[in-house]
């Protein structure tokens, strides 16, 4: 790690003063910014707030230098876990409470994408969904005479496949798509693959308490929870990726945003449908259920 101490110092200086453009070593890079400043003047103010454009050049340069260890050494992978506890907690908070006008990546990640958050949030979500689904089914079918409790362990591997596939393949597709559009239209903002994985990983956090609350066997409650979680994390995703597609063709930009939110919704609704049985509709007739146990059971399937 001593190899990177000098770069760490510089990165720390920049992270500490994101708005300062008056550091002496940065003067050469101020000129490129002013070259296309005329075109972007109208959007400069909101860009600065959303993107921190003044430091994006430098931090991306330093980001490239930070990860220069060869990929077969352990130190290379350690750079993806260079986060402290309070940073992870801040990122989780940022993904749950979207601040209007602030970009998650620029505000929290700042060229230090980590893989800790995405990996362990996905792992927790897998087990939260599997365990909550199992508990919810247990409570729903509790009184029925023909019911035998099973732990349904197979579902853990299914949940793991679905969630890890979403957390890695969708960012890959989105990154590929953004790279392709970047080659056609000059975008100010471009995210690295790891930053997109980071945003997606942290945006899944809201589904963990949602999955636990899905134990409540009321259809209305479950759907309200889905909508609420989708609004929160969907808005974080939209506010993150909108600057990256804004300069593009209007229809393509809108289609991209709609797809992002749609896939996010699909994951939630798919998990709800597959892991959680539909709650009983005939809970008001317990005596009839006791007498005609099997008939009622088949009716509510």
């Amino acid at each position: 790690m001593c190899l990177f101490s000098e770069f760490d110092d510089a990165a720390n200086l920049l992270a500490g003063n994101p708005d300062a453009t008056t550091i002496s070593i940065d003067e050469p890079s101020e000129n490129p910014k002013n070259q296309y400043g005329l075109l972007q003047d109208s959007r400069r103010e909101e860009d600065d707030e959303l993107l921190g454009t003044d430091d994006s050049d430098k931090t991306e340069l330093l980001a490239g230098q930070k990860k220069s260890a060869p990929f077969w050494t352990f130190e290379y992978y350690q750079t993806f876990f260079d986060v402290d506890t309070y940073q992870v907690l801040d990122r989780i908070k940022g993904s749950v409470f979207p601040i209007p006008g602030k970009n998650f990546v620029r505000l929290y990640i700042r060229s230090n994408p980590d893989l800790y958050g995405p990996f362990w949030i996905c792992a927790t979500l897998v087990f939260a969904i599997a365990i909550s689904g199992n508990l919810s089914n247990f409570f729903i079918h509790l009184g029925k005479p023909a019911y035998q409790y099973v732990p349904e362990f197979r579902k853990v591997s299914i949940a793991a496949t679905a969630i890890y596939a979403y957390a890695w393949l969708v960012p890959l597709a989105l990154w590929g798509f953004l790279m392709w559009r970047n080659s056609k239209v000059m975008n100010i903002v471009s995210y690295s693959f790891l930053e997109i994985v980071c945003v997606y990983g942290y945006s899944l956090f809201i589904y963990i308490p949602t999955a636990i609350l899905w134990i409540i066997p009321q259809k209305a409650v479950r759907w309200i929870l889905v909508m609420f979680a989708l609004c929160l994390s969907g808005s974080v995703l939209v506010m993150t990726f909108w600057p990256a597609v804004r300069d593009d063709n209007r229809r393509i930009a809108l289609a991209t945003m709609v797809t992002v939110v749609l896939l996010h919704a699909l994951l939630a609704i798919g998990c709800l449908a597959y892991f959680f049985d539909a709650p009983d509709l005939n809970v008001l007739i317990p005596t009839a259920a006791a007498q005609n146990g099997t008939i009622v059971a088949t009716k509510t399937q």
Binding site: F74, T85, W120, F127, F153
Partner: protein
């Protein structure tokens, strides 16, 4: 015989966790292997092996414990921990001992009855042993982590023992 004594001494260390560097220095994987196999064996005979949604199979328990321990060790090393790979595996494996004891108690309780009272007894025992496992492994592993990342290292250990406790608690004999 000497190896057997070493394994026995480590079992005692886990049951009464004190910060002793002796446990960390002379690591061995015999204890974890014995515990893993016995836990996986005791989790067999659960409901409906032939149906799709049964309990975990032998291989699944084995894979979860070893793969989980490897992932947690990698995680703590990537976050900058100073403990070696096999030392960490050794500690995580040995700290499964309280949960294996809980599994034994659960099976005995289930032999007696399988109603609500037995469930409450099993719940209390499993929760106590889960707490013991997590505290024991944290006591051994926490010192080797950088101070501002301790929670990041402890959380996966918590998740790991929680999943094992869940498997133990939901075991229902056929």
């Amino acid at each position: 015989m000497r190896d057997l004594k070493a394994v026995g001494k480590k079992f005692v260390h886990v049951m009464y966790p004190k910060k002793s560097s002796a446990l960390l220095r002379d690591w061995d994987l015999w204890g974890p292997l014995v515990l893993c196999v016995s836990l996986a064996l005791m989790l067999q005979g659960g409901s409906a092996d032939s149906k799709e949604d049964g309990g975990p199979q032998f291989a699944e328990v084995f894979v979860i414990i070893w793969f989980g321990a490897v992932v947690i060790t990698l995680n703590s090393k990537l976050l900058g921990g100073t403990i070696s790979f096999f030392q960490s595996l050794c500690v995580l494996g040995y700290c499964v001992l309280p949960l294996t004891v809980a599994m034994l108690v659960c099976r005995l309780v289930l032999l007696a009855s399988s109603g609500t009272v037995s469930f409450i007894v099993r719940l209390v025992v499993v929760m106590a042993m889960f707490g013991w496992s997590t505290l024991a492994s944290t006591a051994f592993l926490a010192d080797s982590q950088p101070p501002n990342r301790k929670a990041l290292v402890v959380y996966p250990i918590f998740l790991f023992y929680f999943v094992i406790s869940w498997m133990i608690l939901t075991f229902t004999p056929q």
